[in-house]
């Protein structure tokens, strides 16, 4: 039996993707110039698909701290914290994060993916129920499967549907873990956390919120969707990443539950992987300070987000339901989306091409993510390029105006 036979359909999609010009899943960035510009095929390209929300990847102090940490402690830890030991910097970063998030406990993971995988798989075992928003990220789905819990999906951002599905679960005394995100990565819409908290309380369930796209973005202090909604006290576990607003790589989980620390010896994606290197911990520690001390970054980010969203909406594109740093343009057909994406790249604009089934409602998306580091004129150029490409490809109503959600 050919092990690759099961990928026949996928291989065909991948081949067709290459046929439309450049393969969207194999773009080579030749040189990174700044948080918002890279050289692709020799051309300066405006990057609108980086998730670099606060533009901190080139923060001078963060870069210097990373260099200094590498010189002082080396390029890597060469192993896991449980076997090789924790560096002082691991502990320090966890303490800093816990203080920032106003949580008693915090664990740092090597990626955001592993934070979700580890937390979900460890908290909810085969006897337990996990109830997840249907549009949750792949890492959440994978965590559910890894732990072996009984998985139920509820309709995206729908508290009544969550309530209904919790009611249908057997009264078996098993644990119940609800998982949602803060800002959803594909359409940029926010979870109605106030309502979800009410449902959670009514059913005696636990609630985990993945703030990957909302950390540093929402809330006065940038703690995310739960801070903005005023319900942090009712979120049992907050999960997030260092690879977006904090400009590095890594993930974390934080909680006020007193039993939390036992996860350090139970959570396999935490235990059996190499820990974060000194350079990352150093840059993230500095970036965290920036995030805390410079709320104006969030103001700039939201101003840029509004500018892009309004500009594209005025031009007639179908967008997600809310203004957020994720601005997704929905198109009708995969082929059109591929041609559109290629034309944008040729014209010096890089966005993310997101294809079903990774997108809600089976619609292909041209997903933009805005940064505080974008200049207004870059945002305007992106809008103009979208309009020009739509005209050149002869994309009119109703396709361009088809509802994104």
């Amino acid at each position: 039996m050919n092990l690759f036979a099961k990928f026949a359909t996928l291989a065909e999609t991948y081949r067709r993707a290459s046929g439309a010009g450049h393969n969207p899943f194999a773009v080579a960035i030749e040189r990174v110039v700044s948080p918002t510009v890279s050289i692709i095929e020799g051309r300066p390209t405006i990057m609108v698909g980086t998730n670099n929300y606060l533009g901190l990847t080139f923060d001078e102090a963060a870069v210097e701290a990373a260099v200094a940490a590498t010189r002082a402690e080396g390029t890597g830890t060469t192993g896991s914290r449980i076997a090789n030991g924790s560096y002082g910097a691991h502990r320090k970063l966890e303490e800093r994060l816990a203080a920032y998030l106003r949580r008693k406990h915090c664990m740092v993971f090597s990626t955001g993916y592993q934070a979700n995988l580890g937390m979900i798989a460890t908290l909810a075992g085969p006897q337990d129920h996990i109830i997840i928003d249907a549009d949750c990220h792949a890492s959440i789905y994978d965590g559910c499967r890894m732990g072996g819990a009984k998985i139920t999906r509820f309709r995206h951002n729908d508290p009544d549907d969550l309530d209904k599905r919790l009611r249908r679960l057997p009264q078996d005394g098993a644990g119940r873990l609800i998982v949602t995100e803060g800002i959803y990565s594909m359409l940029g819409d926010k979870a109605p956390l106030v309502e979800f908290v009410q449902v959670k309380k009514a059913h005696g369930a636990y609630l985990m919120v993945d703030e990957a796209h909302s950390l540093g973005v929402l809330g006065e202090a940038g703690r995310g969707c739960a801070e903005e909604a005023g319900v942090e006290g009712d979120v049992d576990f907050v999960v997030g990443t260092f690879s977006k607003s904090l400009g590095a790589v890594g993930g974390f989980a934080a909680s006020d539950h007193d039993e939390f620390e036992v996860l350090r010896v139970a959570c396999r994606p935490y235990m059996f992987t190499a820990s974060l290197p000194p350079s990352i911990m150093a840059s993230v520690t500095v970036a965290l300070e920036r995030m805390e001390q410079h709320p104006e970054l969030r103001v700039r980010l939201m101003r840029n987000a509004g500018r892009l969203y309004q500009g594209l909406a005025r031009a007639g594109f179908a967008l997600g339901p809310q203004v957020s740093p994720v601005v997704a343009v929905a198109l009708g057909e995969v082929e059109t989306a591929m041609r559109f994406w290629n034309a944008l790249l040729q014209a010096g604009v890089y966005v993310n091409l997101a294809l079903p089934p990774a997108t809600p409602n089976g619609r292909p998306l041209l997903r933009c993510s805005v940064s505080a580091a974008h200049e207004s004129k870059q945002i305007d150029q992106v809008i103009e390029t979208f309009v020009e490409v739509a005209r050149a490809l002869d994309i009119h109503e109703p396709e361009a105006r088809a509802r994104a959600v």
Binding site: K150, I151, R165, P170, P357
Partner: protein, 83 residues
């Protein structure tokens, strides 16, 4: 309220016809993935719609064992009896 097995099969067929825009004839032997080209998301959405149709909880953990319409109908029948 208890539907017979035949009623469950017919409800699944209706749901599948709606999901695939009526382009396939559906029998108990229809393979969800291979005959109807349902991807992983479409399979999960199907389950969600059937949960609402029968007012039961069908965890995603059943999916690996469900290949045909018959497998799905039997799983729902079993859940309904247990409920």
């Amino acid at each position: 309220m208890s539907e017979s097995y035949a009623e469950i099969v017919s409800a699944i067929s209706e749901t599948l016809k709606a999901a695939t825009k009526g382009q396939f004839a559906i029998t108990e032997d229809t393979l969800l993935k291979r005959d109807l080209n349902l991807d992983s998301l479409a399979e999960m959405d199907l389950l969600m719609n059937l949960e609402d149709r029968f007012d039961v909880s069908i965890s995603l953990n059943h999916l690996p064992e469900i290949e045909t319409v018959r497998d799905l109908a039997q799983a729902i029948e079993k859940i309904k009896k247990g409920a």
